[in-house]
Amino acid sequence: MNNELKTIALSGRIDSLNAAETEKQILDDLQGISGVPLVFDMEKLDYISSAGLRVILRLKKQYPDISIINVKPEVYEILEMTGFTEMMTVEKAYRVVSTEGCEEIGRGANGTIYRIDRDNVVKVYNNADALEDIRHEREVAKLALILGIPTAISYDVVRVGESYGSVFELLNARSFSKIIATEPDKLDWCVSEYVKMLKKIHGTVVPEGKLPDMRETVIGWAEFMRPYLPSDAAEKLIGLVNDVPRDDHMIHGDYHTKNLELQGDEVLIIDMDTLAVGNPIFELASMYNSFIGFSEMNHANILKFQGFDFETGTKFWKKSLAAYLGTDSETVIESVEDKARIIGYTRMIRRSIRRGGLDDEERRKEIEHWKGELLELLEKTDSLVFGVSEIEVEADTENLPQVQSFVEEHIAAAECSPKAMMQIGLAVEEIFTNIANYAYAPDKGKAKVRVDVLKDPVAVSITFVDHGVPYDPLAKDDPDLTLSAEDRAIGGLGIFMTKKIMDDIVYEYRDGQNILTLRKNL
């Protein structure tokens, strides 16, 4: 029994013949219970007369918080006529829906989604007592929608066999998994839309306390591992997760291609019950598991789950990660993947052990494999935090320090000399200041800065993008260096200096954007 409320089931007929007896039974049942909300479950009640209603009214004096659920249509009519629906919360009985023969279009940690007709889908929850889960999912989906994330919100709760389901309108939508499986030439388009949505989610700040903190959850997973890992490895794992800074940005928590739907030309994200806040590495870990981790030892898993094969899943993951990080650098991509795998393996090991995986020889082998990988990764990893190699800021000189430290962090991997580092810093200052002062003047606008570390030859490339007035800085004449101080103009030096200290500068005006790319060979 739930301690917070008391449920009383009524059945059959309640009228003047048995009202007194029913009242006595209820009072016996409530012996010693006071101050809790009462819920009358009328699922099996066929009729109630005014004698029966008076029983409820008398109880209401002692238990002011009464609600009625699962009301059949004919009983609801009585409650409505007698004004009960205005006196207390009265919920009609849930519509019963069957998913037999329905297409499964999505599957998440907590439930499975079926299409029940052309316009509607139902998410059937695994947990038999799912009303709280449904309420939670509806709340977080509403929150996400208000914060600008395109999603579907359930409009009805139904019974599906012994489980509950929530019904959504999803007109003619197709999941990304299906598109990938049936239209291989659309893979790149899917990657691009998938990453666009991911960035949108990760760029959304969530008001404090509205969503669970994923960091806390993952600390729990790491703590769970303590008895199963050598103590130094366990300590390192817990330390790594603890060192991930708190983050108030949204993460989806189960972001794979079955949860992304194309409806007309609109992309929607569904299955919102795992929504949380946290560092994006936690999301990448769950994505890694969806596309690779869960199928690493048995490639057939992903085919069963997503409808496309392991090779396709791996390709999709790699391309998405590259696009998300804004880099083609294998080194950068692999280093982020390794961080994701640490959390990914931790999660899978915990999950398997909790489901009795140690008692089964096949699964024990799997756990050992994951553990081996995890220990190897822990050995070579010092932080779970990673950087995205592109930032967008207001083009204002105030943001120059932020842009400069962003660039410095990202070229650190290239191990360039302090001198080259300074020169790059200088070029970044000159170009960014130029954009800040002239691109949008007198208005304001954004500037994007992207860093790539290139191999063969080793070089750093920095790209600046703004939507300001078209301006080719390279078209300007170089200042005349032979003039005396008196005759030298004040200004025009920044671009000139940048040209001198960089190895290559390319300007392009495309799609309404100034795109300036600097390259420095190392």
Binding site: T397, L400, Q423, P479, A485, F496
Partner: protein, 98 residues
């Protein structure tokens, strides 16, 4: 960036430490535009100047223009990076560098 000024009659030494860039140049600009009255000998000590961008060069150029009409200006103790910036921009020819 920190600016330390030492005045001895008509001689002024301005020591600039740290970074002379877009963010900090306005501070030096205000020294150059309002405190050079009556100064005949201006010295910039860059022993602890780590970095200079075109925003800093502009201030030096405007100081040089002022001092051309009222005395001398020298720049001393220039480190390698700052020196390279002077080189590239032709400032080695305009400034008196010790």
């Amino acid at each position: 960036m920190t600016i330390t000024k030492t005045q001895n009659g008509a001689a002024l030494t301005v020591k600039v430490d740290g970074r002379l860039d877009t963010m900090t140049a306005p501070q030096l600009e205000s020294v150059v535009s309002s405190e050079l009255g009556g100064i005949e000998k201006l010295v910039f000590d860059f022993a602890d100047l780590e970095y200079i961008s075109s925003a800093g060069l502009r201030v030096l150029l405007s100081a040089q223009k002022t001092m051309n009409s009222q005395g001398t200006m020298t720049v001393k103790n220039v480190n390698e990076l700052v020196s390279e910036v002077f080189e590239v921009t032709g400032f080695t020819d305009i400034l008196t560098i010790e």
